[in-house]
Each structure stands twice: as C-alpha cells, then as structure tokens.
C-alpha cells in the first residue's frame, strides 16, 4: 500500500533522514520513536510533501507521490492528513472553520475565502467534532480552547480530509497526561473504526507500546528498529535512544494511573 524506498533528506551537509525504507501493506497504526533530532519529523514531513526528499521514492497504491508538484501534490496532501505537535490551527478563526479547512483541496478558492461552505460539509464537520466530543466548542475561536481540545480540532480537520493516511508528529508532546490519553485514544479509535493508517511520531516508549501495532525506531536518520511492540525491549530502546546504563523508561513515561482513570474512560466513551 505505502512504500518508502531509501528516502533521504539532507540539509546542507547534515543528513536528517538517511535511506529510510519502510513498507506498509495494510492499514495499521505505526509509532515512530527516536531521540530528538533522529529525523522523525523530517520523515513525516516528506510523506506529506511539506519537505522534498533529497533522494528516494514514496509510492502509495502503486502511484509515485514523492515527485508530485502543483495541484497533484496538493491532492496527495489531501489524502494523507497531518497532525502537528503545536496543532497548527488558525487561532483567530472558529473551530468549525478550522475543521472545514480540511476540505480546502476540494473547495474552490473563492468558496474557501468567502466561507461559502456547503451545509453538508458543515454538518459533517460538526459530526466529526461530536465524534471527538467537542461539538460544543464548534462556534468558539480555536485559540480559546485548551491544548487537548485544540489537538482534537486538528484531528477533526484531518478527518475532514477523509484521508487514507493520518500522519501525527508528536501529537501529545505539548499536552498534559490526561489530554494526551484522550488524543491517543482518539487516534487509535479512528484507526480501528475507519481502517485508516495512522503513522505517529512519539517521544515516549510506553505510548508507542500501548497504542501501536508496529513500532519503528530511528536514530540519526536511520531506521534502527522495526517490529512489534513486544519486540521493543528495554535493551532495544537503549540502542535507539543511545542511552547509557542510567536509562529509565519512567523518565519518558506519560502514563497516568489513578487520578485520571475516570476521565479517560469518559473520553473513550465519547470517541
């Protein structure tokens, strides 16, 4: 389905992503882990064509997407939605508008600029927001929302694109543990219910283990691990993070145990 072939990205003399080859043959949820600077973001950004690869090829369902430009490139971007660590919403616009931006590729420029969204789209946007439990916020400005809510708006925008693939670049890095849970659960549910492929950069091992079907470890631009969560032992993790003996998983954990359990249950119910 999705095939990444020795994808490389160099910034000047520095190599951010180094001959990465990954094959995804059915919709699964993939977690990418690695230390800061390992190249996770760059890889995802190349998949979304936000960054042009220096070398290598990305193919999706037999079609080469890495070389696309202009409208074709934007078409591919519409098919593989991206979720960012900082949400990247338009803060001064309301939530529905932000979600409706997911239809920008299809909508004509005029329609987008004049906010002449079809009622059907608005209805769908609200439904998606409802699915994520934030339909009440629909008319508020995005900047008025909490971080966790904003990230769910970003997910809603992604869903609005009706994408085959959802890319998420450390979607929970700037969230508190409770909101992190809600967001990860939402992504998982989307994967399970809609059958969309989700590729998710994560900076914590336990999150990757808990939500992903497959984990890819990166180090200095290269893929150094690719397997199931079970195969991801502490030893392997040490390799990936290049950590010395003092490496402790807890240091990176975002797991919540007692206090917020109720909240999580609620959130799951909502999604």
């Amino acid at each position: 389905m999705l095939q990444i072939d020795s994808l490389t990205k160099r910034f000047g003399s520095a190599t951010a992503v180094d001959k990465v080859t990954v094959k995804v043959d059915r919709p699964i949820m993939i977690g990418i882990i690695g230390a800061s600077g390992a190249g996770k973001s760059t890889l995802l950004r190349m998949l979304n064509l936000l960054e042009r690869p220096t070398e290598g090829v990305i193919t999706f369902e037999g079609r080469q997407v890495s070389g696309l430009t202009g409208r074709a490139a934007r078409g591919w971007q519409a098919e593989c939605a991206m979720i960012f660590q900082q949400f990247n919403l338009v803060p001064r616009m309301d939530v529905v508008s932000n979600v409706l931006h997911g239809t920008l590729y299809r909508a004509g420029t005029l329609r987008a600029l004049t906010a002449m969204w079809p009622d059907a789209d608005i209805r769908r946007a609200i439904d998606i927001l409802a699915r994520l439990g934030i339909e009440e916020q629909a008319a508020k400005r995005a900047e008025a929302l909490s971080g966790g809510q904003q990230q769910r708006v970003a997910i809603a925008r992604a869903l609005m694109q009706n994408p085959k693939i959802i890319l998420a670049d450390e979607p929970i890095a700037s969230l508190d543990p409770m909101n992190a849970q809600i967001v990860m659960q939402a992504l998982r549910t989307i994967h399970e219910e809609d059958g969309r492929t989700v590729i998710c950069n994560l900076h914590t091992l336990d999150t990757a283990r808990r939500y992903c079907d497959r984990v890819i470890g990166m180090k200095q631009g290269r893929v150094v691990f690719d397997g199931t969560p079970e195969q991801l032992t502490t030893g392997v993790a040490r390799d990936i993070y290049g950590a010395d003996a003092s490496f402790s998983e807890d240091a990176t954990s975002t797991e919540i145990r007692d206090t917020t359990a109720d909240a999580i249950r609620e959130a799951k119910a909502a999604v």
Binding site: V96, I122, L129, A138
Partner: protein
C-alpha cells in the same frame, strides 16, 4: 444526535456572521473605489490621457536631439544640441551627418539616417525624401507663407501643415518649417554632453584617452571642465543636493533639540501643572498640524527664499511631532530608576540626566533618525516652493518641460540621496542604540 443539530445551527450562524465581514468589507471598499472613480472623472481622464506625451517623455528621458536651424531671412545655418545656446557647435563646425553648403545659398544635406535625407536650398527651400512615402518639397517666404507639395493621396497624420507652418515628424527626426525658420532635428540615444560641453577640449574623448590625459597632469582641468559643465551644471546640482540634506539635518536636529527639554512640560509625570501641560500639548498639536510646506509659506515673509526657511519650516513641524513622541516616551519611563538616583540626593537636572535620559534615548534616537530620512524627502518638496535645493531644480525642470533627461538626472539623484540618508540613519541607529553605553 439532537445535540449536533444545535451545534450545527450555531456554527452555521457563526459562519454567516463572519461572511458579513468577508463580503461586507470588500463590498464597501469596492463601492468607495467606484464612487471615487466617478468623483475623479476617471473615464474622461483616461480617454484624454495623452499617450503621446508619455512616449515623448520616455523618449526624451534617454535621448537628445541635435537641431539644424536655418534662419530663412539670412540663410544662416546653425547646429546646436537640444537647440540650446550652450550646446551650439562652434562656428565652422558641424555634425558629421550634415554636409554644409559650400557656397552661400547652396545646398545643405542632412542625413537623418535610415535613408531619410533632407536638403535645404537657398531662398527657404527644403526637400525631404521620406522612404516609403515620397518626396516632400516646401518653400518658406515672407510673402507666401510656407508652400509645400506632397506625394498624392491624403496627408498622413505625421504631417501637420498650415499655410504658415509645416511640421513633419518621422521615426528618423523632425522638421519644422515656418516663414522665419526651418528646423531639422535628429534624435540620438543617451545624455549628450553629460561630461563635457562641446567647447571643452575633452569633449568626445574616450575613457582611455581621458585617463591618459589625467595622468599627464590634466586631471585638474578635466575635473574643472566636468564640474563647470554648462549644460548639466553638476556643481549647482551637487550644491542643491547638499542644501536639501542640510535643510533636513538642521530641521530634524533643531526640532529634537527644542523638543527634548520642552517635552518634559508636556509629560504628566514631570509637569504636574495641568495648564502648562495642556498648553504645551496644544502647541505641539498646532505645530504638527500645520504642514511643513505651509510653514514655509508663512515663514517666507520673514526669511525670504533659501534653505534656512525650509530648515525652519521642518523644525517647526517636527518640534510638534517630536514633542508629542518624546512626552509620550517620558510618560512611560520607569519611576524606579529615577527614585534610585533621587535617593542619593541628586538634584533635578542630575535626576533627568541619569534617571530619565538613559531610558528615553533609544526611543528618541530611533525616532529622530527615522525622521531624518523622511525629512530628506520633505525637504525636496519644501524646496520646490521656497527653499531651493534639488526640489526646486526638479519642479522647475518639470514645469518648464524642457529637458526630461535633466528631470531623470534629478530624480535618480533624489532616489540616491534618500537611499543614502536611509542607510546612514539605519547605520547610526544600529550603532547608537545597540552600542549604547558611549552616549550615556
């Protein structure tokens, strides 16, 4: 799912509201522009816009013409660049494309290029061979006016003929025949005589030859011939630029020097007496509200024409501007620093010097330097009315419509001058404000 209906309704209402802006603002803008379009009578102006003038202007900016003028009374022929006295060829000399008459009343052959040949005969006669059209013959006399004959067919629009005057304009040049004079003009690209006038020995020399002459000890003479060039008058132009910058500098610096102490009177925290403060502020408003140009007119009675008048006008307006800016800066100063200085037993002047000035210096300098640059432009405009300087040269050159290449020359110099002042003020700003300490 009843919830989502409510959410849908509010969301859609919100979108509709935002559309009020999205459509309303552009509609208002458009409506206003349409109103202005008709209020300014744009259709008529566009219809009457003289493309030809534009073309003349563009052509004249980058080209010059050489006049061959015959006095139809005496039969004397003169050659002059731009038809000006100062561009006249010395007696006995003529441009290479003219074959002067060998005998009085003989034939003068003028080659306008591209096979356009004009012949001047005795007794006011002229014959112009226009390739692709035919031969035009004309004869000018006191009694008969200008009698001309043209090839058959209707008169083309590039010939403008009346009983006493015939004007022919072709791609190669222009011919004007009246009873008194016959003039033939040929156009050349470039700014002729920019460096040296025809009477200079250096006129027409190549760069290499000039360099050689300069090394041969003639550098001073070369410079003097260039500097005192009668056509382009580089010396006066440079003086004019200098005068313009002078007006801007004195106006800006003087305004800052006046505004700095007086701004204390207009700042709430330094002038507790309301009447004084209000009076000072209103005075600033007045000085600022009357534009520099109007100050120039007002001051011209007391000071007459000249750069001082312009400088004072700038000083008047900018004292108002700076006074307002400085007093606002003063109202925003941090009291803690002043109190610190005050607690040592420092007097009021020392408190101002150490407690206040260091705080407002960055604002002050950056504003003053910004205005220095913008006042260079104002000084150009003010000079156009009274002051003098490059603005006067420019407006006069444009109004009297003589030489657009001079206008171009002045415009280029003005742009360079403003660039220079912009760079200078930027450089000073960076040095003085980030480098700080030195002036504190």
């Amino acid at each position: 799912m009843t919830d989502t209906t409510a959410a849908f309704t509010t969301a859609r209402a919100g979108l509709r509201r935002s559309q009020l802006w999205i459509f309303g603002v552009p509609a208002l803008v458009l409506a206003y522009l349409v109103y202005v379009f008709f209020a300014f009578d744009t259709p008529r102006v566009l219809a009457e816009a003289d493309g030809e003038n534009g073309a003349i202007l563009l052509a004249d900016m980058v080209s010059y013409k050489v006049h061959v003028t015959r006095d139809n009374g005496s039969g004397d022929v003169e050659y002059a660049i731009e038809g000006e006295r100062k561009g006249r060829y010395p007696a006995g000399e003529s441009p290479g494309w003219v074959t002067p008459a060998t005998a009085p009343a003989g034939e003068t052959l003028i080659d306008l290029g591209d096979s356009h040949l004009v012949r001047l005969f005795g007794e006011g006669g002229l014959r112009y061979d226009v390739p692709g059209y035919g031969v035009i013959e004309a004869k000018a006399s006191r009694s008969g006016g200008v009698e001309a004959s043209y090839p058959d067919g209707p008169l083309p629009d590039w010939i403008n003929a009346s009983g006493n005057r015939v004007a022919i304009t072709t791609d190669a040049g222009r011919v004007n025949i009246t009873r008194a004079r016959t003039e033939v003009m040929r156009y050349f690209p470039g700014w002729e005589l920019f460096f040296f006038t025809l009477d200079s020995p250096y006129s027409g020399l190549s760069f290499g030859q000039l360099a050689a002459a300069a090394f041969g000890g003639e550098a001073g003479a070369i410079w003097s011939d260039f500097w005192n060039n009668d056509m382009w008058r580089h010396k006066e132009v440079v003086w004019a630029i200098f005068e313009t910058i002078l007006m801007a500098f004195i106006g800006t610096a003087g305004a800052a020097l006046i505004a700095l102490p007086t701004a204390f009177l207009a700042a709430r925290n330094f002038a507790p007496l309301g009447i004084f403060r209000q009076a000072t502020r209103r005075l600033y408003d007045f000085l600022r509200g009357v534009d520099g140009l109007i100050w120039t007119v007002i001051l011209s009675r007391a000071y007459g024409p000249g750069p001082l008048t312009g400088a004072l006008a700038i000083m008047f307006t900018d004292t108002g501007t700076f006074g307002k800016l400085f007093s606002e800066a003063l109202e925003n100063v941090d009291e803690k620093q002043i109190e610190g200085v005050r607690s040592t037993g420092a007097g009021p002047l020392a408190r101002a010097r150490y407690g206040v000035i260091p705080q407002i210096v960055p604002v002050l300098l950056s504003q003053v330097l910004y205005y220095l640059e913008s006042n260079t432009r104002s000084a150009t405009v003010i000079g156009a009315i009274t002051g003098g300087g490059i603005g006067l040269l420019l407006t006069q050159a444009i109004i009297t419509q003589k030489d657009w290449e001079e206008v171009t020359y002045y415009i280029i110099l003005i742009v360079l001058m403003v660039f220079l002042m912009d760079a200078l003020s930027g450089w000073l700003r960076r040095r003085l404000i980030s480098g700080g300490g030195a002036t504190d």
